[in-house]
């Protein structure tokens, strides 16, 4: 039997479930029989879902919201982390009664708790402003009318500190009469045999027998009272997963789905493929068309099996619901690639030149000025400024440039993809936040979503080794969004990526959007294979493009706009894409060096774009980067 790859969280309340799998580095000889069959890894909760989704783990102690997002997992019997009534470690705390709060800071480290908090607030018809904050900041920010959702040790430490406290599990029990399950062991389909499942039950028995030591150890580390921790582990937390707990879990998932916060997955102890409750494709499509949230597994099914027209019609229905006025927007802007010197050598890129190459360039102010004036003269509203990672260009160069552009031309500045921000932060030894703040102060308006490629590290390592990881990319966007900057999200598929990985990409974008709401629009296109690029094309073609865009429209229920990428697909396919979920036709561009180096040379003007929009049955209008209409649609 090969070792099972198991991933757990380091939280105190999870320790009894996995501790027996751990090999104490100090006493490796004590490695027991069950630890030998298991390769245990501990990680933060967000990493858990990623590892399971990207096949780096077989079983994870997954928070139940993340499990619903993935879908098609098998639940292991009898083990969970839950509470029947008060849980003590998950609570909204405040100086005033909850219904008097104007805002609540959310510790986003537990998505499950956040969803639960939203449900409980909605049930009370309360709608305070919710905002994300790190735990320390959330607590520090508690004020007259501002509360905080606190989780874990801080919640236990501050148990008596605030006069008002809503214990979420207790409130859930009062509402539903059911226990609340926070996390459980979830396995990838067919990854765990029934015999292996027993390992987890043995581990739980051993772990529960050690709760006293666990409490003592944690007390020593955290400064919390040992007795309080002991009662927390033995009385507040319940480690069983029986019929009542399952009913509580089902209730949570269906309430979450009804509120549009979770996919409507139903847990099962059976292997998902054999599950009788698996919905038909028709059901999935009509649920998606109605705006229900799809799980990752459901998205994969649609991408693999959904028929051309049904995907298109469902995506068109979503587009119609989100944009009932039948308006398709486009922007007049210009893509300026300020330098082609780049240190990353991505294998799909025909544009870059290495440092010191004779064909390397940095655009002069004179050339740039001419280009910008043309944009202004043509009625353009912004420039998209992107370039290679050129180590000769320091942050001051960008700050000067941005200030000059803003003062001379007054164009919107949609500039520097996350990769370039990270490059600057490394070059200058500054945090991403500082880089963004300085650029924002110099005139940066929004961040383009380029360079996302596929936000799965297996793919990124293969096609763009030197580029940032998926979580680094997402972190830049997170910071930018929290500062109030907006950005687009993109996906370039069709290299080594699989349908599962494309959907995983969409789920990551959707998760961040749940957190920040900062993405304005989503665009996708396939890898443009041409001379100068160094990877063989994978899945591509016009049908796949239309299907992929349609599935993206169905998955990304929290992103307002989907744009057709006519620059890569051609204006004809771009027009048809307006019936596959897109409500934006991208930009009338003067130039687009990166794609045109790879041989794609589509170029059309505003009149031709409007004609295509009209012919597809829509009204057209120009927009700015925030998708505000600049004229009345015609």
């Amino acid at each position: 039997m090969s070792q099972l790859r198991v991933i757990g969280v380091e939280y105190l309340n999870a320790r009894p479930l996995w501790e027996a799998f751990r090999v104490d580095p100090a006493k490796p000889e004590e490695r027991n029989a069950i630890a030998a069959d298991v390769d245990l890894r501990l990680a933060p909760p967000s990493e858990l879902a990623r590892a399971l989704a990207e096949d780096e783990a077989d079983v994870g102690l997954l928070p139940v919201a993340a499990a619903a997002t993935m879908g098609e997992l098998r639940l292991l019997r009898n083990m969970a982390i839950g509470a029947r009534g008060k849980v003590r470690s998950v609570a909204i705390v405040a100086e005033r009664p909850i219904h008097e709060l104007e805002s609540i800071a959310l510790d986003l480290s537990s998505r499950t708790s956040v969803v639960l908090a939203r449900l409980l607030l909605a049930r009370r018809k309360l709608s305070p402003k919710l905002f994300a904050a790190k735990p320390d900041a959330a607590i520090a920010g508690i004020g007259d009318r501002t509360g905080a959702l606190i989780i874990g040790d801080p919640a236990l430490l501050l148990e008596k500190r605030y006069p008002y406290r809503l214990d979420l599990a207790e409130d859930w029990f009062e509402w539903t009469g059911l226990p609340f399950v926070f996390a459980a062991w979830f396995a990838r389909p067919d990854a765990v045999s029934r015999e292996q499942e027993d390992l987890f039950r043995v581990a739980k028995q051993k772990g529960l027998a050690r709760t006293d030591q666990i409490a003592a150890e944690h007390a020593a580390r955290s400064g919390l009272a040992e007795e309080s921790l002991r009662s927390y582990l033995t009385e507040s937390i319940r480690y069983d997963l029986g019929d009542e707990e399952l009913a509580g879990l089902q209730r949570f998932w269906s309430e979450g789905a009804r509120a549009g916060l979770l996919p409507a997955s139903m847990p099962s102890f059976e292997e998902p493929r054999r599950s009788a409750s698996r919905p038909s494709l028709d059901t999935l499509l009509s649920r998606a068309a109605d705006g229900e949230r799809l799980s990752k597994a459901e998205g994969v099914r649609l991408l693999r099996e959904g028929s051309f027209f049904e995907l298109g019609l469902a995506a068109d229905a979503v587009r119609r619901r989100k944009h009932p006025k039948g308006v398709v927007t486009y922007i007049v802007d210009r893509n300026v690639n300020y330098t082609n010197v780049c240190t990353t050598s991505c294998r799909f890129c025909a544009f870059y030149r290495p440092v010191g190459h004779a064909e390397g360039y940095v655009l002069s102010r004179e050339v740039l000025g001419k280009k910008l004036q043309e944009v202004v003269d043509a009625g353009g509203v912004q420039i998209l400024l992107q370039g290679g990672l050129n180590p000769d260009l320091r942050i001051e160069w960008y700050e000067d440039l941005f200030r000059w552009i803003k003062s001379e031309y007054r164009l919107g500045l949609h500039a520097l993809s996350p990769e370039e921000i990270i490059h600057l932060s490394q070059l200058e030894s500054l945090s991403v936040r500082t880089v963004l703040e300085r650029l924002h102060a110099s005139g940066l308006d929004s961040v383009p979503g380029g360079g996302a490629e596929i936000l799965v590290d297996r793919v990124r390592r293969k096609i763009a080794k030197a580029k940032c990881t998926s979580s680094e990319w997402l972190d830049v966007m997170r910071v930018a969004h929290h500062m109030g900057l907006r950005s687009s999200a993109t996906m370039m598929y069709g290299t080594v990526d699989t349908p599962e990985e494309r959907i995983q990409h969409l789920v990551k974008v959707r998760d961040l959007q749940d957190e920040t709401g900062g993405f304005t629009a989503f665009f996708c296109w396939d890898y443009q294979h041409e001379s100068g690029t160094h990877i063989a094309p994978g899945d591509n073609g016009t049908h796949l493009y239309l299907r992929t865009q349609a599935v993206a429209r169905l998955m990304l229920d929290n992103i307002e706009h989907v744009g057709a990428s006519w620059v890569t697909q051609g204006p004809a396919v771009g027009q048809v894409a307006l019936r596959f979920g897109a409500d934006d036709f991208g930009s009338v561009m003067f130039e687009e060096n990166v794609v045109s180096s790879a041989g794609t040379t589509f170029r059309i003007g505003a009149e031709a774009i409007e004609r295509r929009i009209h012919d597809a049955g829509f009204k057209a209008t120009r927009r700015n980067v925030r998708y505000d209409w600049l004229t009345e649609p015609v």
Partner: protein, 381 residues
């Protein structure tokens, strides 16, 4: 709703009317029309999608007609760019394909006032000498009408002499738009609609199979398109000699209507779909990739079309009008285009006999590999 009643009619096999056709052209929900056309297409052909190995030879661009939409023909022989092949030059085109012989030679020409009729007879005989098995699909209804006038024969006499020389079937070009007013404005000095249809009627009565086209997207209205399609349907009721209906998108570059924009992809797809729905008596609807571009032709395989034409080689008429399509698609590229659309590629001969059936790509459309798509899309300089 009107679309619902049309859907009912289509599903119960009831014929669509002129008003139904007009309603379909005006229906904004493109996918609903496409889906319905696809139902009809799949009922007739399943996933089967036809293509052939053909070559185009245009022996002369000298033409007495002056069609507004044409960027190809030159009026007179001595004008710059005018060219007429010698018989040897024309035959050599086929001889040069010895290693990769086409199953069909498709000849379409200008209406040349200065050649003897024997030129055309010899042309056909020569092709058959080179390859007795090759199918000769030559001369549009417009050319046959011109031959009859110019050489003072009846349609039947013209066709009989050409058949004796090797003619196997007629291509569908020259139909343009049948409506008399539109036809007068865009091509006043060639076969009228009735004359064109009469040529096909006579050809069918002699056992020749033919195709008919429709040139759309210029000055005609949706009503003119429906009228055109209905005239095709009426002829087919009478003769049953049509194999395929081929909507052709108007391309504006370098011709008398260069101020008009070309039809958009949505219009292309809608026109194919409505054609499929209206023509309940015609077997095949062809998405002519040269006029549509390979990308749109591929999507068209979901909008009622079951044929994507052939490997072509040497297409010059659309090239002169500025199509973005390449001049030729390789055999393998056509197979890939069809497979990526989730269909089964069937190599056919001109009469739709199966030459070779290729396997359909394994079920999920999303996991197919289509390489070289961009090569197929390369823009002509």
């Amino acid at each position: 709703m009107l679309l619902d009643s049309i859907r009912e009619k289509v599903r119960s096999g009831e014929r669509l009317t002129f008003d139904d056709g007009l309603a379909l052209f005006n229906e904004p929900d493109l996918l609903a029309i496409g889906q319905l056309a696809n139902e009809v297409r799949e009922k007739r052909h399943g996933d089967r999608t036809y293509f052939n190995r053909n070559m185009r030879i245009e022996v002369t661009n000298v033409c007495v007609a002056s069609c507004l939409f044409c960027s190809f023909a030159k009026l007179e022989e001595h004008m710059p760019g005018a060219h007429t092949m010698t018989l040897e030059e024309a035959w050599k085109e086929l001889e040069d394909r010895k290693d990769d012989p086409p199953t069909e030679v498709h000849v379409v020409n200008g209406l040349h006032p200065g050649l003897p009729f024997s030129y055309y007879e010899e042309l056909l005989r020569g092709f058959k000498r080179i390859d007795p098995k090759v199918h000769l699909k030559c001369f549009t209804g417009v050319e046959i009408h011109f031959f009859a006038q110019h050489y003072k024969m009846t349609y039947r006499e013209v066709l009989e002499r050409l058949v004796a020389a090797g003619l196997d079937s007629l291509p569908g070009g020259g139909a343009e738009i049948f409506d008399e007013d539109v036809r007068k404005r865009i091509s006043h000095d060639k076969a009228t609609a009735d004359e064109y249809l009469e040529v096909h009627r006579v050809a069918h009565s002699m056992g020749l199979r033919t195709n008919i086209t429709m040139l759309y997207g210029h000055i005609e209205t949706f009503a003119h398109r429906v009228d055109h399609i209905l005239r095709v349907r009426a002829l087919q009721d009478e003769t049953n000699g049509l194999q395929a209906f081929i909507p052709l998108a108007f391309h504006p570059d370098g011709n008398g209507m260069k101020n008009l924009p070309a039809p958009t992809a949505v219009d292309d797809l809608r026109t194919l779909a409505v054609s499929r729905l209206m023509l309940d008596n015609v077997d095949h609807i062809k998405a002519y990739w040269v006029s549509l571009t390979p990308d749109v032709a591929q999507i068209a395989l979901r909008f009622g079309a079951d044929d994507i034409d052939g490997t072509i080689v040497h297409e010059t008429i659309y090239k002169a009008a500025g199509t973005r399509s390449p001049g030729a698609l390789g055999y393998d590229e056509l197979v890939r285009l069809i497979r990526e659309a989730g269909r089964t590629p069937i190599e056919r001969d001109t009469l739709y006999n199966v030459v070779r059936e290729h396997p359909k790509a394994r079920a999920p459309e999303a996991s197919m590999k289509v390489r070289d798509r961009k090569r197929a899309l390369e823009v002509l300089s």
